[in-house]
Amino acid sequence: MNKNMEITKRTENMVEKQQDLATIAPVVDIYENDEEILLHADMPGVTKDKISVNVDNGKLEISGVRNLQRKGVETWQEFYDVEYKRVFSVPQTIDVAKVNAELKDGTLKLHLPKAEAAMPRTIEIRSA
């Protein structure tokens, strides 16, 4: 590859990188009770089909892409098309098969149920 071709290739790569979406971490609230862990994440403008939730090997990854529907010339802009992405460590006691998610008003609500074995139990004391 001659020098000119190399520079052209590098410039193309830079342009490609600029077209990539910026990745930001969504803000989250996390709650827990005896049965489950709840995670609420703000992802405004992301539709259901653009969200993915993966639980694997003790890692929970949530991600989503936002493509804004614009009309006209922008006068000012404070937010952009973005990719939301965040990874959490989750306890191995989560029952992965029962994880469920809902999306409401731009907030992703994840229910992470605990496995039966991890739930608190009351031990009955027998009389001797």
Partner: protein
Amino acid sequence: MWTRMNDIDRMFSAMDLLRSINSDRSYGESSGWRVAGGFPKTNMYDNGDSFQMIAEVPGVNKEDLNIRIQGNYLEISGTRKSDAPEGYKTHRVERNLSTFTRSFTLAADVDADKIDAVLKDGLLTLVLPKAESAKPKQITIN
């Protein structure tokens, strides 16, 4: 050599400024993440005959939003209420609750009767048709 506190303050101010420019959300002195530059973040587009405004309002219900318009003065206000479930322990809170108001002076008067407001997926989209007198006009040259 002694360094005056003013110099240290100035250095931290510059760091805060850089952080707010380079990241969408900056980590504040208070616990949790805060949105730099006010809430809600808004975008504005001019479509010739109308303006389109989009505001990020995740977790805010329709009933908790107010929109007021007078001439070219637009005000969006609302409250973001807690959605913390009862009986749960809280491990982390980054989604701040707030009562907010943002006001804007638009570049032209709008027709208040024809404004369309839609709240979907945590985004409030307003279409604000310009008043007849403010719309662009084609001038025919005789």
